[in-house]
């Protein structure tokens, strides 16, 4: 059984307290915002693109530690990444970055950043991992 020490591992708390890529961009190529209506988590991402790569990404918003840490980790990872490569990031990659296991409710917190990233950059509207979730 996981206790809160496991869920709030030091790297999650570190990203929550000192978020990377936090803020907004002056004139972003793409801005996308999404929210988790269950808990009021909100994430906005601003992107600057150049030659098929994500030149700059910043996130803002509010929410639980897991949603905000997940956004911080994801932004840190995709900045400078080729779009095609970023497109391959999936639910398992996010969970691996967080290094925790989550139940279905908190999973939505963890995946909000990924959903925002994918919907913003690629217009993918399906919840990442939706198919896996439905068979759980």
């Amino acid at each position: 059984m996981s206790g809160f020490d496991d869920i709030y591992r030091e790297n999650i708390l570190d990203h929550y307290r000192n978020p990377r890529n936090h803020g907004t961009l002056e004139s972003p190529d793409i801005t996308y915002e999404d929210a988790n209506p269950l808990c009021g988590d909100l994430i906005r991402m601003d992107f600057k693109l150049k030659d098929g790569t994500i030149e700059q990404v910043r996130f803002s918003g509010h929410g639980c530690a897991i949603s905000q840490a997940s956004a911080s980790m994801l932004c840190e990872r995709v900045e400078g990444m080729a779009l095609e490569e970023a497109k391959k990031i999936g639910r398992d990659d996010v969970l691996e970055m967080l290094g925790i296991e989550l139940g279905p409710v908190r999973l939505k917190c963890a995946l909000l950043a990924l959903k925002t990233l994918k919907a913003g950059v690629y217009g993918i509207q399906q919840w990442p991992g939706e198919e896996e979730e439905s068979t759980r």
Binding site: F4, I7, L13, C39, G40, C64, C109
Partner: protein, 426 residues
């Protein structure tokens, strides 16, 4: 952790009344608390759903294992027994809320369905464009969305009684909302599921009736927790749900004034709700069956009847006193936690619910830290988004109490909150 009662829940000490109500003894009758687990379950989410005593589970089991049959049709013995048990539950529920007759008690799936029944059946047959419905800012979505649907379908105006900074209804605004005579229905929550506020329903009903409006009450948090007399409330419709009052999910009830129910068209069509069916039309059954289409949740109705018996054996006054002592104790102890802000009125004007924010820590994180100690605390908007918007916050953490809640569980909550602050200290 062992729960040894060393402190009176009132927290006030000397003036605490002597009581025979023993939450430890109550707790022993709930299998979920007897279940062996690594940490004792500290269940502080009874406003979402209550736990179930042996008596309810046994009554449902007995129905399934000894007289399971469909009701109202079979003429063999177990069908007669099932029908008698189902209708007996209705009588018990009617008596419990002081209904004039069991015919005024319609079984529904829950409060939501009961309120939708009123919106569809009464609302669609009586309201037209230009009419208005008066609600409040503290409504649960179940007493908001059905009226929104009706309003957009019919061109009806929705008006709202505001909520004060202290979490109470601003009743000074009500005469103005009723003044033009267009308001035909007023629907208000009895006890707020977030703020715990006990609303003055008789006064609101008096004003609603004087303005020619019918009065609907969402009693989801009151029928389970305090004595409710639908006559004394002065309401025309009262909705409540079984699973918040020690009963099973899937069963709730709508009480309505007989004269209104008689005139209303059916809600759902199907079997049982008819007297006579021809290919192109039908005649409706008598009350209450006119509103109970299809096979109803029989075992759940039987379970609700057993829950009512159990609640009556404890005494609703005693349960409410216990809730209020716990909430007073909780509010006193929560004041010890720095940066904790409680929403809603003082303890003497609320039921056993306390919602709060803790610094800028998201309530989900608070609940996750407490979950690691086996404490079940609710976090979110509690199906009252407009109310949270009123206070400018996306979510709150909420602790809610019932007849099996112990003061030691509030101590555990306070301890957990101190730790949550440490974990998230920036």
């Amino acid at each position: 952790m062992t729960f040894v009662s060393h402190r009176h829940p009132a927290g006030a000490g000397a003036t605490a009344p002597v009581q025979t109500f023993d939450p430890q003894a109550v707790r022993a009758q709930f299998p979920i608390f007897r279940e062996p687990r690594a940490r004792p379950l500290v269940y502080l989410d009874s406003a979402a759903t209550s736990q179930k005593p042996d008596a309810v589970l046994e009554a449902m089991g007995r129905y399934y294992s000894t007289f399971n049959a469909n009701i109202h049709r079979g003429i063999y013995q177990i069908a007669e027994e099932a029908t008698a048990a189902y209708e007996d539950s209705r009588r018990r529920v009617a008596r419990f809320i002081h209904a004039g007759s069991p015919r005024e008690v319609i079984f529904t799936r829950n409060s939501t369905e009961a309120l939708n029944l009123v919106a569809h059946s009464w609302g669609r047959s009586r309201l037209e464009a230009g009419d208005a419905i008066v609600l409040t800012v503290m409504e649960h979505h179940s007493n908001l969305v059905p009226w929104q649907l009706l309003a957009s379908e019919r061109g009806i105006e929705l008006r709202f009684i505001p909520v004060t900074e202290g979490g109470e209804l601003d009743l000074a605004a009500l005469p103005r909302l009723l003044a033009d005579g267009r308001a035909k229905l007023v629907s208000v929550v009895h006890i707020s599921n977030v703020l715990g506020t006990v609303n003055p329903i008789p006064e609101i009903a008096r004003q609603a009736h004087a303005a020619g409006a019918v009065m609907v009450v969402d009693a989801s948090q009151s029928v389970p927790h305090c004595p409710v007399d639908v006559q004394a409330l002065g309401a025309d419709f009262v909705a409540f749900t079984g699973h918040k009052m020690l009963g099973p999910t899937g069963i709730g009830a709508l009480w309505g004034r007989r004269s209104l129910l008689e005139e209303m068209p059916p809600f759902l069509g199907g079997g049982e709700m008819i007297r006579e069916v021809k290919l192109t039309g039908s005649k409706w059954n008598d009350l209450p069956w006119k509103f109970e289409a299809g096979t109803m949740p029989i075992a759940e109705a039987v379970g609700l009847g057993a829950a009512v018996d159990y609640l009556e054996s404890l005494g609703m006054e005693a349960i409410f006193t216990h809730d209020r002592e716990l909430v007073a104790y909780a509010m006193e102890r929560l004041r010890e936690v720095p940066d904790l802000e409680i929403l809603g009125p003082p303890a003497d004007r609320r039921g056993g619910v306390v919602a709060f924010t803790l610094d800028d820590i998201h309530p989900h994180d608070v609940a996750t830290v407490l979950d690691a100690d086996g404490i079940a605390l609710r976090a979110g908007h509690h199906c009252a988004m407009p109310l949270h918007e009123r206070f400018g916050i996306p979510a709150t953490a909420r602790a809610s109490f019932y007849c099996y809640t112990l003061p030691e569980e509030i101590d555990a909550l306070v301890k957990g909150l101190h730790r949550a602050r440490q974990v998230f200290a920036r």
